[in-house]
Amino acid sequence: MSNLREQVWRWYEQGKIAAEEMPKALKLAGQSQADVEWQQKIEQLLLWLGVLLLAAGVIIFLAFNWQDFGKFGKFALVQALLLICSFSYTWFRWQERDSLVDGLGATKANSALLGLSFMIGALLALVGQTYQTGADPWQLFAIWSLCLLPLAWLSGFDLLWLKLLLLLNVSVVLYFSTWPQALWWFGFDIFPLVVISVCNGLSYLFFYGATALGLTRCNAPITQALTMVTALSALTWYGCWQAADMTNKASFTFYWLYALTVFILSRFVLQQLFPLALVCFSVIAVSTVWLATKLFVGANNGVYMFLLLSLYVIGVTTMASVWLTKARGLFHGAQADQEA
């Protein structure tokens, strides 16, 4: 850790370490690297946990003492905490201005932003709860995610991006439960699944593109991975639904076209193993459901069908695993070539 060496150097400049002791001090600073890293990691984890627990504590405190507080007492409490979070950000960001020039990632200042994001949500929910006008519930989450967008962009912090993604998905689901909609061959029930899959798929491309362009603000590996998991989970759910109920061939074809697009993109264009693995297992799940509905309709002896089905699952899963291992080797080879 270079920080510790810098600290030693500062001590030397301040005259706290004699010149002849410097080699030894620097050596010690180098040796204790691992310890310091662990300490920092634990410190960060405790900080985030503290922020999360504090936010949860405030919300539970308000809910538990709902009648005892006056309307304005509740507003004052949440607004004061919001201001405290905002001021802590100012304080920490100023402290870290030289050590962390961009202020991106898991810094102390950004944990204050995480707290701020919770207080914004708490304040919006509190207003909605106090004046029960009966606004559509998706609006709360949509406004909250809108407020979160500048914070996530500013901090470049995975947890904030993750929260933004979560809120966006919740707003989409709530929106479609308020305004059920259908489009082309997607009925009321399945249209939200398609929208969630497409939105999260596009978010994945956004994060991938940003990382490829070196935009460190949008470097959020956990969020990026989860966008793909959400996109393909929604798609798999959609596919299984269509496979079990083959009344609309067009909507089942859409599943295959979508899966094929993800496959081609992740195999040949982006060369990413994670979406490739997910799309393989999605196809296995959907084809298994399809096969099961074919096998069990009019079957006399279900036990043999189960045997057949389990053999199919074991066979294709093994094939996919072997093939994915090969693909990983290919991707690593391509990467090494590029770097060389």
Partner: protein, 170 residues
């Protein structure tokens, strides 16, 4: 940009964001308080809800008698409309009809009001469909017979209190 300028810029952004959010929210609170203080009072009779689903933890499902004629007056799945009501001497609303747009006060007879109503997926939504209260207060609020609302100049409703059969606040 130097590191100090960058830090200053970041801090300014968060400060502006927090300040504008607080201003907007407090302005919203202020207008709602004014609405509660000065809005027209209208009382809606509550319709009995299946007793098994009346109490769900710490909130009470609200259903209004007036929702039945609204539901039968339209076949639309999704609709934003206004219900025209006449207030009796107790300020309790009596159903007159459904209007698709907001009417000027000159078009309304004395003691008539327009209340915003929304139909979502065939379900009528009038003001709030639930009243939240502290855990354990269920029995106290079970006596509710009316909801007292304040109406603003756009026909929007804000729930002020629940009333018992003698129109006394609970």
């Amino acid at each position: 940009m130097t590191s100090i300028n960058r830090a200053k810029w970041n801090i300014a952004l968060v400060a502006v964001l927090s300040a504008s959010l607080l201003i907007l929210v407090n302005w919203d609170i202020f207008t709602r308080e004014a609405w509660l203080a000065k809005g027209d009072v209208v009382r809606l009779k509550l319709a009995p809800v299946d007793p098994r689903s009346l109490m769900q933890g710490d909130y009470m499902t609200l259903n209004y008698e007036i929702m039945a004629p609204i539901r039968s007056s339209t076949t639309e799945q999704n609709l934003d409309a206004y219900v025209r009501v006449k207030r009796d001497p107790d300020l309790v609303a009596q159903y007159i009809g459904v209007e698709t747009r907001y009417l000027d006060s000159t078009a309304l007879a004395e003691n008539e009001l327009l209340l915003q109503v929304r139909v979502r997926g065939g379900q009528v939504k009038l003001a709030t469909n639930a009243y939240f209260f502290e855990e354990g207060k269920g029995k106290h609020f079970a006596a509710a017979k009316y909801g007292e609302f304040r109406v603003n100049h756009k026909g929007e409703l804000l729930l002020d209190a629940l009333l018992d059969q003698y129109l006394q606040k609970l």
